[in-house]
Symmetry: C2
Subunit: 305 residues, 2 copies
């Protein structure tokens, strides 16, 4: 696996590229989430609170880097990245609700339902989901309406019953249950994997990629998503709240089954690294241009926050 530090001199390093992309996505989100006049202003504020100023924007970075493989207009790619981040932000807002995971802290600040209230948080999540699809369907996202429809339908599939929502349902039902490694892998593939896979695939949809290229990016996204989730569980098991900006050790306390719990820290880490290598290899055919995405695979496993 290529090390982040090993990037050739004169080229943008991965961390710099991630910072630049996060800033672009932040600008796009700021533009795409204006606060209206009237009583609904509070809802607009909650949507911004839940979405802006947070995180590494991993999903948007995947979409935008994948799009750059096909020389997609960067403003179009940033809209798609922003839409994915809105979808992701809505899922965090709803996951944090008292009836769900009941988390008071998110990215080091009060969760949306703590900063506002539960009703506003539910509505903010709902409105963010709607806005994500609206942005994808609008002309500015791609001149070809077929591409926009594919972006919408594929995101909906990744986000709904057969993806994120279904995974969250399984996760809730699994609390206190003994799951097999296979069951945990499927749960995580739905809950977080599908959206990460979609993020990489969205770049291929934007680029009107050939089926094989789209397939390779989807496979890359699937593997990096699985690696990411194991790394997340490792952080929860090993990390401190200070490092991660959220409560840690929560999975064990909540009786949540993770691969780390079943395999132990060492074997889980080895599994994550294997997945990251495999992810990187799916990008062989993209040559030099795939370098950032290959480096990202290593980064996802090595990250400390």
């Amino acid at each position: 696996m290529t090390s982040v530090v090993g990037a050739a001199a004169g080229k943008t390093t991965l961390t710099q590229a991630m910072r630049d992309t996060a800033a672009e996505v932040e600008t796009a989100l700021d533009d795409l989430l204006p606060v209206p006049d009237g009583g609904e202003a509070r809802l607009g504020e909650a949507m911004r609170y839940a979405t802006l100023g947070g995180g590494k924007r991993l999903r948007a970075f995947l979409a935008m880097e994948a799009a750059s493989l096909f020389k997609v207009d960067r403003r179009c790619a940033a809209r798609v990245g922003a839409a994915i981040e809105m979808l992701h932000a809505y899922s965090l807002v709803h996951d944090d609700l008292p009836a769900m995971d009941d988390d008071d802290l998110r990215r080091g600040k009060p969760s949306t339902h703590k900063a506002f209230d539960e009703a506003t948080a539910i509505l903010a999540g709902d409105a963010l989901q709607a806005r994500a699809f609206e942005v994808l369907a609008e002309h500015d996202t791609h001149s070809n309406p077929e591409a926009r429809c594919e972006l919408v339908a594929s995101l909906a599939l990744a986000a709904g019953l057969r993806g994120m929502c279904g995974g969250q349902m399984i996760d809730i039902l699994a609390e206190g249950q003994d799951l097999s490694a296979e069951q945990i892998i499927r749960l995580q593939a739905l809950k977080t994997g599908r959206l990460i896979q979609y993020s990489a695939e969205a770049g291929a949809i934007l680029g009107r990629a050939a089926p094989l290229q789209r397939h390779m990016l989807a496979a890359y996204g699937r593997d990096i998503g699985a690696a990411f989730q194991i790394a997340d569980d490792l952080l929860d098991a090993e990390g401190t709240a200070e490092e991660t900006g959220k409560a840690t050790g929560k999975d064990a306390a909540a009786g949540k089954a993770t691969l780390v719990g079943i395999l132990g820290i060492e074997r889980a880490r080895a599994q994550a690294e294997m997945l990251a290598s495999q992810a990187a290899r799916h990008l062989d055919s993209f040559g030099e241009r795939g370098e950032h995405l290959r480096q990202l695979a290593a980064y996802v496993v090595a990250r400390r926050t």
Copy 2:
């Protein structure tokens, strides 16, 4: 205004057409909401519980009748009708949550969070919203992807911050406040009006209608939506739980401002009837073919459930 009873002999009456359409939409929803294997099956069941077997399908009827003005394939129109009903069902599931309106009864049976639990209800609403957009974006809905993108973007606009969610936010903030008639009209236009307006407009989008025709259907939908809401408030003020299948007199008990509360029952009814007449007149240019929609305007105001 044409009376429902006055429909010419030999033609389908409005009530028969509404029953037939509701059955078509039910079949479409049944097809579009299969329950998957695996732990997420419970979520699929909750989505079906919230959506199937209920209501007059007013929104779907609007979309399908408007589509029939342009001879749109009925299976395509039924998909759009089903998507709108999914969106509407999700909004009811979330509105009924304890943190929102806290309603235990919906369409005469336990609300989704009572029949399942709060977490499942939140997820069912989320997944229904995603599924609605997925259905609209899929090829089977329209052969022209531009039409599908318009369907998605317009529904998202009607459902989000500037529509339904925004209206619900204003409604929550307004509890116990004295609102002016103007403020109530705006609140209701966002909360319920935009989706009803969209329903009529969706038929025009499906039919690739000329801008003026689309405008007329949107105006019809806007007026019928406003009339519908006043009629709903009248039912709440006058009706019994037995007739409406939900708790009544709740608005007054919750201190919710309605036009009925400000204008009184008689003036509110006169306003609803005026809006219904105005709605019907927007359809003049459609001649005979607009008869069901014109009758619907009268029906919406006269209904007892």
